[in-house]
Each structure stands twice: as C-alpha cells, then as structure tokens.
C-alpha cells in the first residue's frame, strides 16, 4: 500500500508541475499581457515601459522559474489591479466557493445515489424512466440558463428566495441547486450502470440464495463494489464544480473565487488567473489522488494491478 501511494504521489506531482507550466505558457503566449493591461489608448512606449516593470520582457522560462519559486513558498504575487497579494484575495473568498461546491456535491450525491440504485434494482420501472429522463434533461440544460430561470421564477415571481449576493444561507439555495443539477446526471447514470453490473455478479446471487434480504444485499455486498467508480467521479465532479463556480457566481453575484476569476480574466489580471488555474488543477489532482487511495484501500485488487 505504501509503495502504491508513493508512486501515485510522484505521478501527481509531475502532473501538477506540467499543468502549471502549460497554463503559464498558454497565458503568456496567447496575447500581449502588457498591451491588455495598458488599455486601448496607451502609446507604444507606455506599453514597453509597463512590460519592463512587470518583468514581462524576460524570457518565458525565466519568468516561469521565478513564479514557481515564489509559488512554492506560497507567494502567488500581487494582483495587477487590487495591489493586494493574490493569496490574501483568494483566502478571503475561498470559504464562500467551498461552501457552494461542497454543498452542491453533497446534494448531488444525496439525490443520485438512492435514485440510481433504485433504478438499477427495478429496470424499466417508471422510476428508472424518470431517472433516465432527468439525467438526459439535466445534461442538456445550460447552467446559466437554469440559473436565470430560477431567478425569474423563485426570486421574482414567487419572491421566495434572494437573487444575488451571499449574505444569508437562503442566498446559497439557488446557486447550490444549479451546481448540483449540473453534477447529478453523470453521478446518477454511473450509480445505475455500476449497480446493475454488480447485481449480476455470482456472489450477489449467492447472497440472495442464502436468503439475505434485498436491502442488506444492496448495502453490504453490492454497494462496496459499486461505490468505487462513484468515489472517483465525485472527486472529478468537485473539481468541475470549482471551475463551474465561475458561471454560477457571476450570475448570482456571489463574491467567491469564481467571480474573482471572471473579473480578473476580463481585465487581464494575470497573476490571479494563473493562481486560480493552479488552484483548480491542484484540487482536482489531490482529490483524484485521494479517490485512488480510498479505492485501493477498499479494493485490494487495485493495488496489485498497478504494481
């Protein structure tokens, strides 16, 4: 197990390093940051001066090396606009976004797991069809459209929920539901198909033939195997939710890291954007690593396969 974890950690670190390099290069090569920053009316000399003071005229690898050295010490530089440390700006907003993303994931799992399992036990029942229908429609609904519809219905017509900001827990209801609906289709489909596969296995038939009740078979025998891919997908979804918070936070005007990133992208505040890219990538990598380790712990066969 220790060897398994160690090799996984090494690969994860390599991936993180590569992703940070690619992200850095993409942001620097896609356009002229200095020109974006200086604005449309700036003269060529002003742009050149800005490029020099920002250190943007140095070779790309040199810029990356100094960024990486700083980042390794937890220093992500200063925002071009707020003249504040990127880390401070992040820490002030990460809580809001974390509440959003984690609540959405919990809600999505709470809906998907039981519905997906029931659908697997009774294929072709009305419930199974409902599950398929919900999954299909959920996949086709753009998050921002759903958000606007909810604002117009629950916020304006019914006046049940506040439509922007994050002052009270009520403010979180609509954004969390919108994010959760984005994550439900994949989770529900995977639960259903995974469960159906497991229920066909011989050991489930054996357990059934011993007279163990259906519910007990589900929880004690089938769940343990069906849960593995769901853990992995949940980890992936949490990463996606952090990225998806850009849209939801901007529609609901919630001051989390998603909205901060959106504003920073609009005004070319490169250090903030780079830090956000790194943050989402790192969360994704750490979460999938955790999921791998949990899976290997639950299923010893996985440990041997990769050695």
């Amino acid at each position: 197990m220790a060897a398994y974890v160690r090799s996984k950690v090494i690969v994860s670190l390599l991936v993180l390093f590569t992703v940070s390099l690619v992200g850095f290069a993409l942001l620097h090569l896609s356009g002229d940051l200095a020109a974006t920053l200086a604005g449309e009316n700036a003269s060529a000399e002003q742009i050149a001066e800005l490029r020099h003071t920002m250190g943007l005229d140095r070779p790309l690898l040199a810029q990356y090396a100094s960024w990486l050295a700083d980042a390794a010490r937890g220093d992500f530089g200063l925002s071009f606009f707020a003249r504040e440390s990127v880390l401070t700006m992040f820490l002030a907003r990460i809580g809001t976004t974390a509440i959003l993303a984690v609540s959405a994931l919990i809600l999505a799992i709470a809906v998907s797991l039981p519905l997906g399992m029931l659908a697997a036990v009774r294929p072709n029942s009305w419930l199974d069809w409902m599950v398929s229908g919900v999954a299909l429609s959920g996949q086709a609904l753009p998050g921002f459209f759903l958000a606007l519809m909810m604002i117009s219905f629950f916020g304006v017509t019914l006046r049940w929920l506040p439509i922007s900001g994050s002052a009270t827990p009520l403010h979180y209801v609509m954004p969390v539901v919108v994010l959760a609906i984005g994550a439900i289709p994949a989770l529900m489909r995977l639960t259903r198909s995974g469960m159906m596969e497991v229920l066909e296995q011989d050991y489930i038939r054996t357990a059934r033939s011993k007279g163990i009740s259906s519910l007990r078979v589900m929880w004690k025998h089938a769940m343990r195997n069906a849960i593995l891919p769901i853990i992995s997908l949940s980890a992936v979804q949490l990463g996606t939710l952090l990225g998806g918070s850009v849209i939801v936070e901007s529609v609901f005007a919630i001051d989390g890291i998603g909205l901060l990133t959106y504003r920073s992208i609009q005004r070319g505040d490169f250090p903030v954007v780079q830090a956000m890219l790194m943050f989402v990538s790192a969360s994704y990598i750490i979460l999938t690593l955790l999921a791998d380790v949990i899976n290997a712990w639950l299923d010893p066969r996985l440990r041997q396969k990769s050695q």
Binding site: N124, A140, M196, M276
Partner: protein, 293 residues
C-alpha cells in the same frame, strides 16, 4: 415464477427499452437534421435581416402575446431586431462550433488513443500522462482565459474548444484499442509485415469507429453548451453576431419585464443539445447488444 417466465419478461422489457431508445435515436436525428436544414436555409427562412435594428419597435413580445405583431413572430430584442431571424441565424453558430470542435478534438483524441492503446508499455504510460495532465486543467477556465487574451471570434472559439476537449475520445479509443490489439486479425496483419499506422487505420479503426461516433455526438453537445456559456459570459462570439448564448446575455437585462428574451434562446439550446445526446445514447445502445449503460 419459473425461470422461463423471468427470461421472457426480461426480454420483453429489454425490447421495450430498446424500442424507446430507438425512438429517442430517431427523434434526436430528426431534430438535428431539421436544425441543420434551418441553418443552411437561414437566408430563405428568416423573415428579416438578423442585424437590422429598428428602435421604434424594440422589445416587442411574441406574436401570440398582448402587443405582439404577426410580422415579428417571436418579438424583437432591445435594439428592435427580429428575434426569430436571430434565432434562425444563431443555429449556424451552434452547429458550426459543434461540428468543427467535434472534428478537431476527434482527430487529436483518437490519434492519442490509438497510439497509447496499440503500442502499450512506455508509449501508453506517456499517453496516459498527457491525458491526466489535460484532465487536471479546468477546460472552461482555460478556454475563458485564452479567448479573452486572443480575442473572441468564431475561429478562436473553435480552435480553443477543439484543442481542449479531446480527452473523452482519447480515453475511450485507448481502451477500445487495447481490447482488440491482440485479436487474431491484428496479429495476422502484424505477421504479414504491415506497418503500425496501416494496421491502426485499416484493422483497428473500423472496429472502434462506433465508439468514436458515440463520443463525437456527446462531444458535439458539450461544444454547443461551452460555446453558449462562453458567449453568455461575453468572452465568445462577439456582438452583433447572433449566438444563442449571447442572445441570453443580452436578454438578461430584461429578464424581469421580458422573460421571453431569455426563454426562447435557452429552450433552443436545450432542444439542440438534448437531440444530440439522444442521438448519441441511441447510437451507443444500438451498437451494444446488451442495450445498457
């Protein structure tokens, strides 16, 4: 119930399910073809110029609502442009982005998948590594950042989405290739002295093509949604080009007074993406005898 009864019932259920899936496939294909026809015939079908402004008739409601006019069936937007015409022309953007992205990402992802799956070993480890790196990067965020720097246009959008969203092709093609790379007909070709590219193209590709087609439809749906989201955020197709996502962004200012400005393009996106997904699900079930997943 005896064993025989159970099988018969199960078979009937499976038939019902496959039949409905089939219906979904036909429905999806029909809607998609209809949208393609609308996009191609846009100049003939659109009653007005989608860019022509007329401030004296701005924010007209659809024809069936009070104050609506029959010559503007779906009403007009904040600049008095005919909403039906904008909707019709908007289908072009969605379809062009959907198809082009699907092709570009399909070529990149399938190539990586074939290489990793066929050669295995170190080569496969490297391909897996590249896939892992791509999956670790938040696609929509990278697209937003890059498009804002390069400048939004149809071409940039297609290139950025195409170069980003190839991961599902790579994962699926790699697995499918692994499963048949040691099949008899592949070994036979290898013994006969065929080169690896030849074997991949002539022996393996035809056998994983149905997987690629399924991913292609799902990827097209994803590209259409991504284009809409990016345009909605103001970092995609630049105004005044009619894009459904951009129409929602513009209609958003009038969400409370004129909700139809958001509803109409939103439903259009929903229907097109739903149809594409139905087509993909149908393809998958029809090419898989068990009819599941």
């Amino acid at each position: 119930m005896t064993g025989l009864d159970t099988t018969v019932t199960a078979n009937r259920f499976l038939r019902v399910r496959r039949g409905l899936r089939h219906a979904g496939f036909v429905l999806g294909a029909a809607v998609l073809l209809l949208t393609i026809a609308v996009a191609l015939l846009a100049p003939l079908l659109a009653p007005h110029d989608p860019l022509a402004q007329n401030l004296s008739i701005r924010l007209l409601p659809p024809a069936w609502m009070e104050g609506g006019r029959p010559d503007h069936l779906l009403g007009t937007d904040h600049l008095g442009r005919d909403y039906l015409s904008r909707l019709i022309y908007g289908s072009r953007i969605s379809l062009i982005v959907g198809f082009s992205t699907m092709l570009i990402s399909g070529v990149i992802g399938s190539t990586l998948g074939f290489i990793g799956g066929y050669f295995g070993g170190r080569v496969d480890s490297f391909v897996t590594y590249i896939i892992n790196c791509r999956l670790s990067m938040p696609g929509l965020l990278v697209a937003l950042a890059v498009i804002s720097l390069v400048g939004g246009s149809l071409f940039t959008m297609i290139m950025v989405l195409g170069l980003l969203f190839w991961d599902r092709y790579a994962v699926v093609v790699r697995t499918a290739t692994q499963q048949i790379r040691n099949a008899d007909f592949v070994s036979a070709a290898r013994v006969a002295g065929a080169s690896a590219p030849w074997i991949i193209w002539n022996e393996i590709r035809p056998n994983v093509l149905h997987h690629i087609l399924v991913i292609a439809t799902l990827e097209m749906a994803m590209a259409i949604l991504s284009e809409a989201s990016l345009s909605f955020l103001g970092l995609g197709i630049p105004a005044p080009t009619p894009s459904w996502g951009l129409m929602i962004a513009e209609g958003r200012q009038h969400l409370f007074a004129k909700p139809f400005l958001v509803w109409i393009p939103g439903i259009a996106i929903f229907i097109l993406v739903l149809a594409t997904n139905l087509l993909g699900d149908g393809l998958r079930d029809l090419s898989q005898p068990e009819g599941r997943r």
